[in-house]
Symmetry: C3
Subunit: 379 residues, 3 copies
C-alpha cells in the first residue's frame, strides 16, 4: 500500500487507487448598473464532485473509471481502458481529444480557477474514441478518432423520435516538443482538429462563454445559432518553467463550416506568467503542467505553498456576418496549497466586452469585474 | 488496516475509509375508507443508497465525499473539506446546519424510521456553507453561514431564464451542554436559525409533511403557498441516557416572514423514551445519539441487540390565517441490530389529523395508521 | 489483501471489494434501402459504467451495492443485503428474479454481446424483493417475492398526481439440476413467474426489441399498447460444458392477462454452441455460466483466450389479435480475453423479420445485418 492522497494498492503488475475530487466555488460579479441580468452579485455552487478509481490489470492493460456530479447531474469524465507498451499508449473510451494545453491541465491543477475563454466557447469536452500516444525523449505525439460525448450518444439524446443514432465523428492530433535548456523546461505544441457533424448538423451550433465565474450562468458572449455541418480548429502552445517561475501562452482558431455560406473563423488565446512565492516549482510532465507540491506543508512545520499568476485572456466570436462579441480579460490568481491534494484559489478578473450578447442599457461595449474563490480537493 | 464495517486505511496522518449505505423500506398505510388517495395500501422503495469515502490528508485537513441515490436521482449528502485543530473544527462544503438533535442523528442511527414531522415540514436539508465548531468539556458550540442546497444552486435550478444566481443565505447556530451526573448522560441544546430568501422570495414557500411513511408520497398536512422573504426558527433539545434507557424531547418554532402581512409561526416537537432490551446502551457522542452496538452479535454466539422506542410527535402548521393542519402521532418502534452496521426496523404509527390537506369525504379531522419496516446497512 | 481484478480486503469474517465495470460499444446496422429510420449506419455508446462494492459484515451477513450509469442516467443494479447459513441464502433488496439462464449470466460474461431477444422484449429487470436460495449437491432452488424496479417505485415515477404508490408484485421461482457426467457438466433448469400489475394496469404494456445492437435504439419488433392486468411467464433451460466446448438453449413463454379479452402468449428462445479456441473451459457455477479465464494471459508469455459462439435467436410477438412481429436471427461472436477481467467482443448478426414494426417501403418482411464490437472491463 502506497499513498497518493488516498491509498494505492498493488499486487504484482496489478494496482488500484480510489479517486475523489471536491470543488466548491463562490464569487461576486459586478456589472454596470444598466445590465439587467440575474447573474449579478453573489453566487456559489458545488462546482465538481468526482468519485472513481484507476488501476492496472496486468499485461500493460489499465483503466480509469470516474463519475462526476456537476450541476447536480451525473457526467462522465475520464472513463477508459488503456494499453501501454514501451513508448506507446493506446486508449479506448471517454477521454480528452488533445484540444489544448489549458484544456488538458487538470481543473485542480490550473493556475487560475477557470480555463481560457476559448476552451468553453469552442465546446471542448471529453468524447468517446480511440487514441494513440507516442512518447520518446523530447517528443510527445497524440492522435485519435472520436465520436461524441457520452451523454450526446445516449438513447434519448437525439430527439423524441430519434434514438441515439448520432453519427458525428472527428479526428484530432497534437504534437509537443519539450526540450530542456539548462534549468529551463520549454514546451512547444501544435494541435489540429477536424470534425464532421453528420446528422448533428440538423441542429444549429452556438458558441458562447460566461463572465469567467461558472456559478453565474449568463453568457455575456454568444453567437446566434449557426447552421453548420462541421468544424476545423487548430492551436499553438508555448510554455516554460524555470525554478519557481513559469509562463504559458496559446492561440486557437476555430472555423465553422457553413454549407452555402462563407465560413467564419473565431479566435481565442491567452498568455500568463506565474511564480511560486514559496520557492517550489510548478510540475511539468507528459506535455502538461501539474500542481505545486508544497515543500513545507501544514502539519510539518510549514505553511504550504503559495503561487501567483497573472493572465491575459482574449476571445473573439466576431467574423464574417457573425457577431458573438469579443473579450479582453485580465485575471490575477493566488493559489494556496496547505497540504498536497488540497488548494484554495482566489481570483480577480476584469473582463472588457465589445458586442456583448447582454446589453448594458443600450451599450454592447462595457466591462465587468469578478472576484471568485474556490476550495478544491483532488486525490 | 483497521475495520469499521469496511476497511480503514491509514499511513502517518493520512487515512481513507470507503462508505456505503443501503435502506430498503416497505409499509402499509390505512386511512378511513372515504379518503380518495393513491397513497393508501402497500408501498415500498429503495429509500437511500449511498456510496462515498472519507479521509484525512494530513496537517489537520480531512474530507467526506458522498453520493446518494434517493428516489432514483443523485443527491449530494455530506461533501465537505474540514480542518481540525485542538478544540476547533472548521468545515467548508455541503453539510447540515445544526438544525436539531433529531435531524443531526444519522438516518441509520435513529430510534424510529423517520425523523420528527417538523424536520421535513420545516425543510431541513444540507446546505453549502462554512461552519465552525468548538468543543470543550461539557460544551459544544456550532455556528455557520450557509447559502442553499447544492441542487438548488445548479445552473438550471433557478427558472428557465435564470441560471444559478440563487443568492439566498442564512446563519445558523447551536449550543449543547452535555453534563454527566453519575451514570446519567444528559443533553441540553438550543439552536437558532435565520435565513433571507433573497431572490428565492419570488417563488412562494410551502410547508408540508407525509403520513410518516416516506414511500407513500401524499402530504396529509400542507400549507398553501406562502409569499415569504425569509424564515427564523429556533429549537430546544433535552435528552439523556442511563444504561439501557434513553429519552429525548425537542420543541421547534418556525416563523415565516411575510412582507406586508402578519408572520405565522409553526410549531413541532416530540418526546420519546427508549430501552435496549438486550442491555446495551445507545451511544451518545459529539452532541448526538449514535447506534446501539450489539454486545453479542449474530455469529459470535448471540442474537444481536434489540431496542424499543415509544415516541409522541406533534406538528402544527396552523397560525394566523394559514391552515396547514395539525398532527398528533404515537410511534412505536422495534430495532434489531444482528451485527454492527446492519439494522432491521419495524414501526407502528397512529397519526391523528385536524385540518388535513387531504379530505376524508367531507371531513378534515381523522386518523390514519401506518405499519412500516426497513432494512438498513451503513458503514 | 487478496486480488480479483481489484483488491479484496478482509479481516476475520468481514471483507470488502471495490467493483467496477466499463462497456464501450460500437456497431453498424445495415437495413434495406427502403427503411426510413435513423438507426441505420454507424452508432456507438458507453453501454454501461458501474461503480460499487461488495462485502461481508460477519455473522453470515453480506451486501452488494452498485451504481450503474447507463444512457447517462443512474440506474440501480445489484443492491442488496444477504444472509447465508449453510445451504441457504436469503437476499433482500434490488436483485434479479431468476428470469432465465441468459438473463442471469453477467453481461460481461455472455457468449455474445446482447442477451437473447426475449429477455428485453419480456421486460426482464432487477426488482426490489425478498428471495431465498437453497443449494445442495446437484440442486439449486430459488424463489422470491418482488415488487417493481427501484426506479418504478420512486416518488415521481407514478404519474404527476400519483406519488410512488405503485403496488404491483410478483412471485418468481427457478429450479436447476446440474449433474456431472464424467467430464461433462450438464444444466437443466425450469423457471416460473407470475405478476399482478395492480394499479400499474392503468397504463398499457408494450413488448418490443431492438435489432440486436443496443446503441441503435429503434425497435424493429413491437406490439401495440396492450391493456393488461398481469403476466405469467415460464422458461426451460438446457446447457452443458465439456472441456473447451459448451452449448446452451432456452425456451420462454410469456402470457399477458387481458381483462375481458383472450390472453396472447409470446414466445422466445435460442440455441447456441461455443468453443474456446485456446483450449480453456467456460466457467460454470451456481446455475450460470461464467467467464473464460485465460491460461496464458498477455504479459505472461501468451495471447490470452479466444472463444467463438454461434447462436440462433428466435422471438415471436404475434399471438391472438396482437401483431408485434417475429425475429429469426443468426449471431456469430468472437471474444478475446487478453487478461482476466478484460474482454473484446466482435459480433455479426443477421436478423430476419416478419411483421416488423418498421416498414421497408411497403414491406414488413425483410432482413437486417449488424456488425458490433465491444470493449469490456469488469472486476
Amino acid at each position: 500500500i502506497a499513498w497518493k492522497g488516498g491509498p494505492v494498492f498493488s499486487k504484482g503488475a496489478a494496482s488500484f487507487k480510489v479517486k475523489g475530487r471536491i470543488q466548491y466555488d463562490a464569487g461576486m460579479l459586478a456589472t454596470p448598473h444598466s445590465v439587467q441580468d440575474r447573474a449579478k452579485g453573489y453566487s456559489n455552487e458545488l462546482r465538481r464532485l468526482r468519485l472513481g478509481g484507476e488501476g492496472q490489470l496486468g499485461g500493460g492493460f489499465g483503466y480509469k473509471l470516474e463519475l462526476e456530479l456537476s450541476d447536480n447531474s451525473v457526467d462522465l469524465v475520464d472513463t477508459f481502458i488503456g494499453y501501454e507498451k514501451g513508448k506507446w499508449l493506446v486508449t479506448l473510451g471517454n477521454q480528452n481529444a488533445f484540444q489544448s494545453l489549458d484544456e488538458l491541465i487538470s481543473d485542480t491543477g490550473g493556475s487560475v480557477m477557470e480555463r481560457a475563454a476559448f476552451t468553453d466557447a469552442f465546446g471542448f469536452e471529453r468524447r468517446l474514441g480511440l487514441s494513440a500516444q507516442y512518447r520518446s525523449g523530447l517528443l510527445l505525439a497524440q492522435a485519435g478518432i472520436f465520436s461524441d460525448s457520452a451523454d450526446s450518444l445516449t438513447n434519448d439524446a437525439d430527439g423524441p423520435d430519434g434514438g441515439d443514432e448520432n453519427n458525428s465523428y472527428g479526428v484530432d492530433g497534437r504534437i509537443v516538443l519539450a526540450p530542456k535548456l539548462g534549468k529551463t523546461q520549454l514546451h512547444f505544441g501544435l494541435s489540429g482538429h477536424w470534425r464532421d457533424f453528420q446528422r448533428l448538423s440538423e441542429t444549429p451550433q452556438r458558441y458562447r462563454q460566461r463572465a469567467y465565474l461558472h456559478s453565474a450562468n449568463s453568457r455575456f458572449l454568444s453567437t446566434p445559432r449557426i447552421a453548420a455541418d462541421g468544424e476545423t480548429h487548430y492551436g499553438a502552445e508555448f510554455a516554460g518553467v524555470r525554478g519557481p517561475l513559469w509562463w504559458a501562452g496559446e492561440a486557437h482558431w476555430l472555423r465553422v463550416s457553413r454549407p452555402g455560406l462563407a465560413d467564419p473563423t473565431f479566435f481565442g488565446g491567452y498568455g500568463e506568467v506565474g511564480y511560486v512565492l514559496t520557492g517550489e516549482s510548478r510540475g511539468y510532465r507528459n506535455g502538461i503542467f501539474g500542481i505545486v507540491k508544497p515543500a513545507r506543508p501544514v502539519g510539518s512545520g510549514g505553511w504550504g505553498a503559495l503561487q501567483a499568476t497573472l493572465r491575459y485572456d482574449y476571445l473573439s466570436l466576431n467574423d464574417r456576418d457573425i457577431v458573438g462579441g469579443t473579450q479582453n480579460a485580465i485575471i490575477a490568481a493566488l493559489v494556496w496549497t496547505p497540504v498536497e491534494y488540497l488548494r484554495f484559489n482566489v481570483n480577480y478578473a476584469r473582463l472588457d466586452y465589445s458586442d456583448a450578447a447582454i446589453l448594458a442599457g443600450g451599450r454592447k461595449d462595457y466591462g465587468v469585474d469578478v472576484i471568485a474563490w474556490r476550495a478544491e480537493l483532488d486525490f
